[in-house]
Symmetry: D2
Subunit: 351 residues, 4 copies
């Protein structure tokens, strides 16, 4: 085992990040040290890189970011029993306290005292990462490495789609970032009979098309409300999966949702939203759900099962594969708005 | 059967209403003519009386208002089979189309083409009212007439309380108009273990006390957030039943709701509300439900069962009993803010 | 409109049936007369034809059987508003009373006073059939006529599969008659990630293969328990859909179901079954559901949506297409055990 | 801390048990040593005492039985953080593995690898008992010690009653052992509007009366089916809570359950039961649930909340309070059929 490793480090409270040599993390009795095979970049990492107001408020440098990855077990603490050296794994990066009401009643994804690896503690943009055994997810070798590195955002999509009935339902996805794009595949695989993808960015609409959404709509140039109404016999869609976090997308979502429909919110608006509770929610008997993280560990079982069964083709979403040392280039690709999922390889020659 | 009857008539597009003689309604083959024993005044009737903007927009005089009542069957159409002359009845006043998706999938309370008796058609502030057989609710004689006349708003409360789990839960009711007050009784009867009643009006807080809320709080003078936090071990309440429709009450409701909690909205805000979707709903995994009307007819079975079992003491909410000819006096009592439920007796000498 | 028509008639209390001329049914004010395009034969029709003990007990000749069909509206009663002459329709043949607790709470499929067209009243093995407007299901022209004629059994499959969670679940179907075969397609379309089809009849296993079950197992020659255990990492399947009604299949179903799993029973055993409540249900926290008919009309919306979206390939199940006048030949085909779904064409030259 | 303690010991594979001096249990890093204040006797303990076939198969002497108790923390392992010396506690005695699918998806009560303290390991019929921190339940001092000692069976009742809707429902409890009796109180507190208690033993019927069941029926002398039918307008009860485990009680339960009703099974039959799946479950759309243990830890939150709110009066069920050294006398009381809950005090002088 080496003493040092290369890692992406957010060293200072300003934009940017650097790749440099740091110590390999130490592990406790119940921790697992994972050698990272592939890591993947989330919008959160971009916020940290760009050092936007959210990041300035939440992040305390120095920090190794990164919370999407897969790898092989390099070492285990003395009390670890569920995995051993060489096992292929990923991990849930929300570390729940295990003792609050939510944790003790099957709702650990909204733990009162959660800590996030890659946000609150050093993460996976490195050659090695330390993870508590409780959060390790052992993977079947049938699951491709590329998919194994994006289970965190795929899990967001699975959690959102399966937070209510989806089979034989019409569904609109507002916002086609990576999670929205994954949601198209998940909704289709789980029996959604009409999938509307609504997105202003042309590049993303193009990927949504490749993900086989039934309708790909541009709210800037098309009358989305009218088109959905016609395609649903005037009723509206059964389910809206809100993944944009933008007021216009949320507005559209409520407008096209049918009476008694489900509005599942995953996208994070940066400021308060105005809503007409009377007409948007109450008279129409709408249910609005806040979706956060992934259910521990029901969502993980679900997405593993879907992937093993070959039910999800996610390739169109993976647009960039680069060496981790070229991290900043990946960030710029994302800032351009012309990339979707960027994979990082710590061992740059492997990909 | 007389040819004419006394009725409250909203005759013109201006404030007020008059009591005058009109023709007894005719009934069709599938209708039931009910002789009204007691009718009850809803906030909606007050809007119509006061001729506020909502009423100006929605109501087309002349109209006999009134949608809360009980009575005895006076005559039935030729095809009516489920009730007969002399039966003691009330009615669901939302007449659903029966043919839309919502109606055909057990969600008739949010029918796409609903018509409301007492709002869209002549209602129950009269000696007789005509009701389609489908909407008649036959009553057990064990249910007191006074309670039978308020099943519509009681049903709103039952629908809201039972729209999710309530047994062994803590619950806050924001707004103690009649429906909020009923909700206290229903929540207690269905196993809520802490009931917080939150209300700015002192008179209403006093009734909430009589309804046996565990905590009756005044948000104008008390630190509601802190008090709820302390009483719930820092967790917040499991359920908020929003019955005020006021931005401050809604704000308080979200603030005191625990992660993963249920926010059931019944109160109708008069204008859009600002909400921080990220912190109020998404990160906390909150579920927000719009509640409208009563489930047809599950809510009716539920409230009948609760009443027959003697589980609900609603007397404190019934504050006024007057002859129907004194309708305007009842309206002024309500406008004073010092009355809760006002009962009207068409046959003034009976009460 | 002709005065007479050809129909299959169960004329006497003995095996067999005859095709003969009868009067075209009259319709009431709220009825719809449908000209049958295609009808389909159910196991129930075979019981009636073979005059087995169930039929002797339940059927009162003379009767026109048949409860699976599609056709075009030939005439409508004066009060019918939702369809008109020429519309393409099928129908729910369970006519619910509309007045019992189950009917009034969204559970009409288990109405206390149901009457079944084709069992209790004259059915669809005829050129014309009369159906109450409430039970007519208007069809999109995008749905193929062959599929439109089998919505009744397809609905049984959809009802069973969607009676609980199925997405990302493993599922075993015990018994591959037509409904079991349909269930394979429905489960796959709705995201089941492992589908085990278990069936003793080789012909049916062959069709199950064509329906793309992941595993097709013969309990007579294979160790089904062991194979399911291995394929599910020792856990057992999440869901069993019991469609055989045979004690051995039910026994197998309980043995392979995981702790906390769902056992949905549709197949009708002909006599009582012995069950070890302690080990089969209680200690393992199993949920057993009785499934009857189709939900009115949620199931109809669901299957229509799945068919319109092209999610279901049902062709392998349709094995015979014959003229209605050759009804008895169709029955013999079914008695041979080498046919699955037999379609009847009243206008013999059309198919 | 003493080195030895008095304990009830099942020393040999034969009927009976002895009270003798044994070593105080040692605790590991994550364990809690509890000084037992009160323990309570379960039917399981009686099986062990009587050495019936189940006990002969399951129990491996020597064993200290006992899995219902409360006490104060006497010592904690070095890694324990959630309780400290002197805290008032009880415990969930099903120790789940934490790593199987059921444990990782919120269903730890049906863990694949559960171990039960007091059955598989030394239990609470002693002055001290060792419990893993994960299973300790810290108690509010508002909860009386007597109630705190019976949370295990009370939890069975709460789990069963709340395994589906109960508010505004009619419900029958078949079998009035302690858990059945508790269920009467819980069902009433959670809004059941008719509670039928059905029990052959006169003594138990008498206690059921004290628990305020609405109807207490003797199936040996009364026509239970007819009486339930009349009291429910011919419909049957919405919910049956089966707590007898006897074939006759189960038969009665199915007979009185309404179409679409819920049958929750907790009582453990000693041998297989015959059931007419067609008429008992399928055609009637019944849901049958196996109930085991208590949900970890939702049930514990629920019962704690109900007790703290004073919603449950359980005193009639607690019939005997004896010194633990008189254990055998308590067993004989239970064998007599004239006692319900027997409490044991390790410190005999305290009660």
């Amino acid at each position: 085992m080496p003493q040092t490793m290369m890692a992406v480090v957010k060293a200072e409270s300003k934009p940017g990040a650097e790749v440099r040599e740091v110590k390999v993390p130490e592990i406790g009795l119940t921790d697992v040290l994972v050698k990272v095979s592939v890591a993947s970049v989330c919008g959160t990492d971009l916020h940290i890189y760009n050092w936007d107001p959210w990041a300035q408020h939440r992040i305390h440098p120095p920090l190794i970011p990164g919370h999407e990855f897969c790898g092989t077990v390099a070492a285990v603490g003395a009390e670890v029993t569920s995995v051993k050296e060489g096992d292929f794994v990923s991990a849930e990066m929300h570390v729940a306290c295990g003792k609050c009401l939510q944790c003790r009643t099957g709702e650990a994804h909204i733990c009162q005292h959660v800590s996030i690896i890659g946000v609150d503690e050093n993460g996976a943009f490195a050659e090695y990462v330390s993870i508590p055994e409780s959060n390790i997810w052992k993977l079947d070798s049938a699951i491709p490495q590329e998919y194994a590195s994006i289970l965190d955002p795929l899990g967001n999509a699975v959690h959102t789609v399966l937070a209510g009935e989806i089979a034989a339902k019409s569904c609109a996805i507002t916002g086609c970032g990576p999670i929205g794009l994954f949601a198209i595949a998940v909704a289709r695989a789980c029996g959604a009979t009409q999938v509307f993808a609504i997105e202003v960015n042309q590049y993303r609409r193009c990927v949504a098309q490749q993900m086989k959404a039934d309708y790909v709509l541009d709210p800037a140039t098309q009358d989305v409300r009218q088109m959905v109404r016609e395609a649903t016999a005037g009723t509206g869609v059964d389910v809206v999966l809100e993944m944009a976090g933008h007021p216009d997308a949320i507005r559209t979502g409520f407008d096209i949702l049918r009476r008694g429909g489900r509005m599942s919110l995953l996208g994070i608006p940066s400021k308060p939203i105005q809503l007409d509770f009377a007409d948007d929610i109450i008279f129409r008997g709408i249910t609005v759900q806040g979706i956060s993280g992934r259910r521990m560990y029901q969502t993980w079982y679900q997405m593993t099962a879907l992937l093993k069964a070959g039910k999800l083709d996610l390739h169109p979403v993976i647009t960039d594969r680069i060496a981790m040392r070229d991290f900043s280039q990946g960030m710029e690709r994302l800032n351009s708005g012309q990339a979707s999922k960027v994979l990082l390889y710590p061992n740059g020659s492997r990909y």
